[in-house]
């Protein structure tokens, strides 16, 4: 088995700031600050999981809507962003989104903001789509959300070895998909 380091991907320059992806671990002063700091980063995570940018934005917006509804309480948390992230992931992994997707009138009303996905984004999300949900979530939390193995293990309530195993399998499958000539890469 290939050992997965605490930050398995080599460090590399990126135009995507860490705060945009993951955000600070300390709580922002107000809801607007929390929203501004984390909305896009959360959409990146959820979109990588659900492979639908409009739906991902809806899910994250819903998570923030629920957050502001109980902001008096969340504002006292050390890290309300964690609460929002968990809610967004719960929504993404639950059947809630399917139920909502099936809601025809909302679907008919939905504005299409985003242009069609380009081939590169399809390549990654298509590769992720081949993973079982557990592996896909682990991959996204590690590579997109940039959580550590320890943090993922805590969040998923499993041993760190389990997370490493998930990531090993996820890495291998994603890489195979990305390099498969039949996939057009």
């Amino acid at each position: 088995m290939i050992a997965v380091s605490q930050r398995g991907a080599p460090e590399r320059a990126s135009s995507v700031s860490r705060s945009a992806v993951r955000g600070p671990t300390t709580g922002p002063a107000d809801f607007e600050e929390l929203y501004a700091a984390h909305f896009s980063g959360l959409v990146l995570q959820i979109n990588a999981y659900v492979n639908n940018l409009t739906e991902a934005q809806d899910l994250v917006q819903e998570a923030f809507t629920r957050a502001v509804a109980r902001w008096d309480k969340l504002a006292r948390y050390d890290d309300p962003a964690t609460w929002v992230r968990r809610v967004a992931w719960n929504l993404a992994t639950s059947r809630w989104r399917r139920q909502r997707t099936a809601n025809a009138f909302l679907a008919r009303q939905r504005e299409q903001h985003a242009p069609g996905p380009n081939p590169d984004r399809v390549a990654l999300t298509a590769a992720l789509a081949t993973l079982p949900p557990t592996l896909r979530k682990a991959f996204v939390l590690y590579y997109v959300a940039q959580l550590s193995i320890t943090e993922i293990a805590n969040e998923e309530d499993v041993a760190e070895g389990t997370v490493k195993s998930w990531l090993h399998r996820a890495r291998t499958q994603v890489a195979a998909h990305l390099t498969d000539p039949r996939e057009g890469n």
Partner: protein
């Protein structure tokens, strides 16, 4: 492929994904989140207030004894339907209209010019004369609206089919809905008979009932709320046209019911220490009947996402939603106690870290007690998730 090459490949793909996706993200805005939350709270409060009014005005005993003379759900009828203009008011006499008038179809309504009554909540929703195109109307300066469904029914018993249509106005989240009845005038035009009902969160379906009645499937919540898919109460309510307005003649008149004799308590959801990476948890719902008559139609509706429920096996509430169900409770005799014990396996690592966490903070969890097709007005509070 070496580890280094593998990491470089994946990191590159992820970085490209991030850079290419970020510019396409369009945050709706924190203000919209606040507005949606405020709207939901306002609508919920309004519904609860309206339900309370109905309960006060129409006690169960009165409802059972009365014969079509009570008011139905909130905002049944309108000034328009209560006092219809003579030119728009149809004759209720069965013999006054020829029986050969063509039925009003959904397709015809979808491209007709109609006269819509006012909505329960202004919000700028289009009323008065509206022109539908493929079921759509409004837009621009007024909220986009549409016809969702229509059913044929001879409401005025003149021998020709009238129609009841469900409309939605997207003036909020999830929108306002209204059911309106139409009939065919002798000259073939479509005239508005009156508003059947509005002010109910969701009017999901419509169908013809017996003897000139129309039935609407209504719900207390819309599906855009996380727990709504499982927790929403759906009821078929029957309405009848009395010549001047619609009255509810059958079905529940409230989504909630108070059953003081029924005491319900929930235990904490306690997960044992993991065995082979899985925790087994249990939670008990205890229902005690402190009254003098048997409670025969209680049920427990649940949605528990902190694990997989392995027992009991209950009816499905929402298709393709394995985390939820509705468990019928055996009749509870006077003075007796019934228990429903949920056994769960946390096989997805969904539970939080060891310790004690309020259940409502661990995801979309719901335990709702119902009697018949109504939910208890006062629901038992959720306990905690305890991880040993």
């Amino acid at each position: 492929m070496s580890d280094f090459d593998l990491d470089a490949l994946l990191a590159g793909a992820v970085d490209d994904y991030n850079q290419q996706t970020l510019p396409q993200i369009r945050p709706v805005g924190s203000g919209r989140a606040r507005a949606t939350a405020t709207h939901r709270k306002r609508v919920h409060t309004a519904i609860m207030s309206a339900v309370a009014l109905v309960v006060v005005a129409v006690p169960v005993g009165v409802y059972a004894a009365s014969d079509h003379n009570h008011n139905g759900p909130p905002v049944v009828g309108s000034s328009r339907s209560a006092s219809p203009a003579p030119s728009e008011s149809p004759s209720a006499a069965p013999s006054s209209a020829p029986p050969t008038l063509a039925a009003i179809t959904q397709q015809e309504l979808s491209n007709a010019t109609l006269s819509l009554p006012s909505w329960s909540d202004g919000n700028g929703c289009p009323s008065g004369t509206v022109k539908l195109h493929n079921g759509q109307f409004g837009g621009g300066n007024v909220p986009a609206s549409q016809l969702l469904k229509a059913a044929s029914v001879d409401l005025d018993r003149d021998g020709s089919a009238d129609a009841v249509a469900i409309f939605i106005c997207h003036g909020g989240d999830p929108g306002l809905e209204m059911a309106v009845a139409f009939h065919r005038a002798p000259d073939g035009s479509i005239q508005t008979l009156g508003k059947v009902v509005t002010g109910i969160y969701t009017i999901a379906d419509v169908r013809a009932g017996d003897a000139g009645t129309v039935q609407l499937q209504v719900s207390d919540l819309a599906g855009s709320d996380g727990a709504a898919a499982t927790g929403q109460v759906k009821q078929w309510r029957t309405y009848e046209w009395d010549g001047t307005r619609f009255n509810q003649t059958a079905g529940s008149t409230s989504f909630t019911v108070a059953v003081p004799a029924l005491t319900v308590t929930l235990s904490d959801l306690t997960f044992e220490a993991p065995v082979n990476g899985k925790r087994t948890g249990t939670m008990t719902v205890t229902l005690r009947n402190g009254g003098t008559t048997t409670i025969s139609n209680a049920s427990v509706v649940y949605e528990l996402t902190v694990g997989t429920v392995t027992a009991p096996t209950c009816d499905q509430v929402v298709a393709d939603l394995p985390f939820s169900g509705q468990c019928a409770v055996q009749p509870i005799a006077a003075g007796a106690t019934a228990t429903v014990t949920f056994t769960m396996i946390d096989d997805q690592g969904a539970a939080a870290s060891p310790g004690s966490t309020p259940l409502q903070e661990t995801g979309e969890n719901l335990v709702q007690i119902r009697v018949g097709d109504q939910k208890l007005a006062t629901q038992p509070p959720l306990g905690k998730v305890i991880l040993k």
